[in-house]
Symmetry: C2
Subunit: 322 residues, 2 copies
């Protein structure tokens, strides 16, 4: 057996910034470096700039021979191919074999997946899902993403794109909210950060109920504004979170019918609302889950949440590739 090397590299590739980190097996981030994703319309220049930025922190960690592998979390990343495929938020058109490009440049194995799957890997490797073989990660950010782990493996499906739980249909009337995917009534259209702001705006315009949110420019209301108002006891804002949590609980009850996970782990900006969100999720989940599953799955909030979480998640992929 080869000796496992002490570190991995994680790359959180976002539309604006790309953050690289060197991480040990316990999930400590030794060092980070970053480049602007948008500054490199040619992906070859991006890879060159990334490797140049990595150089000094790899050197400080003892050189590339101390690095087991690299994991990348990126939009539209396909785990099977190591390609980014037609990412709308990135300047690179078509199919970009980014894993292969970094692997050739650095001389280490590189794997890539999307952000939510990376988050699930991170949670399983370093976080609250450590040791779990069956859990579902729900990421509540600008969108609603998911990473599903079954029998200790992230589920990629037949094409690398499995785990799009933000796009199960919650409103089947045909008049549901329009989602970014082009369909109507998706979970993401209601329970993402943008969905929460939208719910608040809808409630403000369809009633004349008093609310702290009325002091704000309605079109600029964010989920954070709603959370702050709710914390201050604002009824309407609390109702926004109840509505959101109720729907998430219903959706999670369906997810449990699929894979009966030991935990559903929530991750991302919206979880900062804490009990405002989690209590309604739990109440609704317990009301809607099939009796045989009652009490089996824990509803948890990620412990990796924070600035380094996405880098950690990506880095976790680096341990499992050969």
């Amino acid at each position: 057996m080869d000796t496992v090397k002490p570190y991995v590299i994680g790359l959180d590739l976002g539309g604006t910034n790309s953050v690289f980190g060197i991480v040990d097996a316990r999930g400590n981030i030794l060092s980070t470096t970053a480049i602007k994703t948008q500054a490199y319309p040619d992906v070859n220049d991006y890879v060159t700039a990334g490797c140049e930025a990595l150089d000094p922190i790899i050197y400080a960690a003892g050189g590339i021979e101390k690095i087991q592998g690299m994991g990348i979390g990126a939009p539209n990343a396909n785990y099977y191919t190591g390609n980014i495929e037609n990412a709308a938020n990135l300047a690179w058109d078509g199919i970009v074999p980014l894993a292969k490009m970094f692997s050739e440049k650095l001389g280490i194995p590189v794997a890539m997946t999307n952000d939510a799957n990376a988050a699930a890997m991170g949670e399983m490797t370093y976080g609250v899902a450590k040791g779990m073989k069956n859990f579902i990660m729900i990421t509540l950010g600008t969108g609603v993403g998911s990473g599903i782990v079954i029998n200790g493996q992230v589920v990629y499906g037949c094409d690398g794109f499995a785990g799009e739980l933000g796009h199960v249909t919650m409103d089947r009337s045909g008049n549901g909210r329009l989602c970014g995917c082009g369909r109507k009534g998706c979970l993401e259209a209601y329970c993402s950060a943008t969905g929460v702001a939208r719910t608040a705006r809808e409630m403000l315009s369809t009633s004349s109920r008093p609310s702290l949110l009325r002091e704000l420019n309605r079109e600029e209301i964010t989920s954070l504004d709603v959370a702050i108002a709710a914390e201050k006891g604002d009824d309407l804002s609390q109702e926004v979170f109840e509505f959101t949590g109720k729907m998430l609980g219903e959706a999670c009850a369906d997810f449990t019918a699929f894979s009966s996970p030991e935990a559903i782990v929530f991750f991302g900006g919206l979880t900062k609302a804490g009990d405002l969100l989690m209590k309604p999720i739990e109440k609704s989940y317990n009301e809607h889950v099939m009796p045989i599953f009652k009490g089996h799955a824990k509803l948890l909030v990620s412990t990796l949440d924070g600035a380094g979480a996405a880098v950690l998640g990506a880095s976790a992929l680096g341990w499992e590739i050969k």
Copy 2:
């Protein structure tokens, strides 16, 4: 490596009958025998009677040393424990360690799972899903069951009960049809054989449209009656299948967002309706599935359907146990 033996035993344990079969690796059923499940209120007597019935067909197959293992498909069977747990349709109360009991009596390894998971195993071992690593089996019988295969393994979840896709909620209004599980609006309440008959009765009572079904005693209408009338061109009956297929297509679009299968395989009595059911499923699935998944999953009808299918499904478990 041990030599794989040429045969397995499959037991399809139903509320009324228990059918045993000896099966080879290609899915040929060499011989079968059966006992009445209901005739044995004591499970010890059941196992004794089952083994006595098996004796001559095992002997004819060359003796127990030719048998690799035994698989059982049974209601409320837990794959992890090998127990039947609180099965409402069986006379045996509480927890029944049936796999262990047969294993000790026969001297071969025995595994057990529920009917739908057994069907998925059968399809993967001998049927249209042969060679597939990711597919979903939907069984359309008295209820709606499912068996989910991911990375070549049936999904059992944290507790052995995963894959209850008949109990995802399709009507979230709170006024959906009451389901046998005690909740409202489940897929099973609409798309099982009993659900189809219920839809027909509802359509007959809420309209005065002419229909061949009006010649029948309304309370005794079955899904087969609806299929026969639809085949004869009965508008209302065709609409029942369109409604059923539309809902199944919507549900399957959500299932794809979970595991992105290469196929969804339909199995069970209702599939005998053929295109009457499959065309509306396909139309609705293509309309509702998320764009990135379009065209990836095949919608198939089981080729194992028929008298021996349940025995074959159960027997497939016998190959994988040690």
